[in-house]
Amino acid sequence: MGTGKFPRVTRRRFLRQTGLTLLAAGSAPALSAPFVSSAYADTKSLSIVQWSHFVPEYDKWFDKFAKDWGEKNHIEVAVDHIPVGNVAARAAAEATAQSGHDLFGWNGAGGAHLYRKFLVDVTSLVEATEKKYGKVSTIGRQIGYNQDDKTWSAFPDFYINFPSLYRKSMWDEIGMKPDTWDNVRIGGAKLKAKGHPVGISLGHSNDPNTTWRGLLWSFGGALQDAEGKKVVLNSKETVEAVKFVAALYNEAMTAEVLSWDDSSNNRYLASGIGSMIINPISAYRTYQKANKKGADDTFVMTPPKGPVRQIMGGASEFYGIWKFAKNKEGAIEFLKYYADNWPEAFKASEGYNNPCFANLVPKPMPILSDDPTSTPRDKLAVLQDSDQWSASPGYPGPSWPAVDEVYNDFVICDMMAKAATGQMSAEDAVKWAHQQSESIFHKWNEKA
């Protein structure tokens, strides 16, 4: 029999003490409520969630900017940054739980139209901003605007463009420029023979989804019609585009591209092997920090021209205010203030965030027209007009849930990859992708 200093735990003793502990824990909030500082309880708050920017300095700027605004307005501001891959899951969780942040920042496909019923109508805010800073660009409109009832369910923040980044010395050596898709293929084949292939991902990530859409459009093909009602993928133009990609892959690229994620092409360029990639300038900025000499040899140009047009995919960023947000007024006021100070955001992103409103950053744009870190200083000047060649995934129609699902299922990337690797003929790959897209469109047409 134990006779130590600790008393024996009997069933009754266990029950009594456990019960008391649970009672104490349960009643603590109620008992302490009268003593909570009323000043603290009255403090308004605003919570924001958005992706962790590819330019880390931008996040630092944004956090300080939001905090300063909060201090001026006696609002406690909390900004959460989450990995870009978690944005969709977080949005779904917040919408389902009807609880979460006040202001939600989406990245790329999906968001404004998908969560339309959960979001506050910001039409008056967008219209007021348009009056001040000019019309919203096409790419900004494709994501946040609802064509059917002419409303805005999200506030366009910025878009990310996808220019060509190429090693000038390598292309000069063969006396060519990657200004057209044909030149990319012909020049790329010559450079591949010299050990410097072209690097455009054929894997499952955002970059190939964006780039191959751009190529498809530049050949005259598209996923859907301008109204977003019909899948028009199975066309002569798409077959030509797919045949071209197969040739480009076999002649000018290596099999590595089949496994790439969004950062692989950046590393490929920085490794000194790749002769050209298509990517936002974050790849160039990273290269500048890693190897100034290599970055100085890397030039930025508009995306390659196709037989029909010069166009490239882009990614839009936008803010939505949840209907269940605790501080909707605060969120709207913050967005107004943010728009008024948007040129600062542009500078903080080192020219990565491109404006969605025509006159938000008047030309010549700072940094892009004259970048002190680049040689020559006007290297990025072509990006000032990138709204003219950037389009969102639904082009030429609107973005809507079916377009997003085709995007999230990597149907266009796989169509290109299946033909490139010889798994299917170009015609069969297009038929396969058309069938996949039609079944997604059919499903959403029934639901939307």
């Binding site: 899951a89 998908l114 894997g203 089949l258 790439w260 994620d261 490929y268 639901k447």
Partner: protein, 309 residues
């Protein structure tokens, strides 16, 4: 003559009498676990079943009943059948590899050697490391440009850069990669299971078999293995259930690529239901796991019961 004091009878409440009854106390103590399972497993399962029979999307959160229409549409998609096949290959491939590695590991760890206790503790690390961290480390090993494996083979003169395997770009190699990573995560658990099983086999049985002339292989495959099969089957049930429902490795490493070669049910359900917002179809895709897992678990539990009898 001394008087014996009468014991003081404390007045007891009815509450105490109720909890003095063993059956009542048992019920009260087990209730939190049952409520937990019902609330956090039972309800979501029922909700998922209803979602799969509805037209619920994030775009239009309606509870409209559509019967089996979602399942029908999914089955008509040839890509889904590829996903189903991938899930089986991934699950059973990684379990098989994990078991083989686990068996070898257990035998090695049974041998006396200096630092055995430290090695036994360290071997658990793959099981304890967060999957996101581990997968990122593996991603670098299979990277197209900076693969440590390829670099070593090229440096050793075994391969040239052109001949180096395209780990995550080749459909078969990509599947092998996710199998290897999952087996690597699973094998410490398999080692623990095997060690527990092997050490529980009575030494006199093994000694008797040795005296009767049974060699290493016969002792292992005709005596030890049949005796530890029930505990091995329990480990396998855990492994199969966790792998069949897993999406993390695919999500972090391949996103289902190249060309859908590594897309598994968990990943496809997540992409459709959460990322694309079609909750009904996402739930239906995920529910395809249920009958498969149910059959596997019932079969293995019956097998274990028979072995025990």
């Amino acid at each position: 003559m001394s008087a014996i004091a009468e014991p003081v009878v404390k007045p007891t409440s009815r509450f105490h009498f109720i909890f003095d009854r063993r059956a009542v106390l048992e019920t009260v103590l087990i209730a939190p676990a049952i409520i937990y399972v019902l609330l956090l497993v039972g309800l979501p399962l029922l909700l998922a079943i209803y979602y799969s029979l509805s037209a619920y999307t994030i775009y239009d959160p309606t509870w409209k009943f559509v019967g089996l229409a979602n399942f029908k549409q999914i089955l008509q998609n040839p890509t889904f059948l590829d996903t189903l096949r991938n899930t089986f290959v991934f699950t059973f491939g990684s379990q098989l590899l994990g078991l083989v590695l686990g068996k070898f590991g257990a035998f090695l760890l049974l041998q006396p050697f200096p630092g055995r206790k430290i090695v036994r503790a360290l071997i658990i690390l793959p099981f304890a490391v967060p999957v996101a961290l581990a997968t990122i480390a593996w991603q670098w090993m299979f990277d197209s440009l900076y693969s440590v494996i390829n670099w070593t083979m090229i440096a050793a003169g075994i391969l040239t850069r052109e001949e180096a395997p395209n780990w995550l770009g080749n459909p078969y190699l990509a599947m092998l990669c996710i199998i290897i990573i999952n087996a690597w995560r699973f094998f410490p658990f398999a080692i623990v299971i095997f060690l527990a099983g092997i050490t529980a086999v009575p030494q006199d049985v093994i000694d008797a078999a040795t005296v009767d002339g049974a060699g290493f292989w016969r002792r292992n495959y005709q005596i030890i293995l049949p005796m530890i099969l029930p505990i091995m089957a329990i480990g396998l049930i855990f492994g199969i259930v966790f792998t069949f429902t897993d999406l993390s490795i695919v999500f972090l490493l391949t996103m289902g690529g190249p060309g859908g070669a590594t897309s598994v049910l968990g990943f496809a359900g997540f992409q459709t239901g959460i990322v694309s917002g079609d909750v009904a179809h996402g739930a239906a895709i995920s529910l395809f796991m249920l009958p498969v897992l149910l059959v596997v678990v019932i079969f293995m539990l019956r097998f274990i019961r028979r072995r025990e009898i």
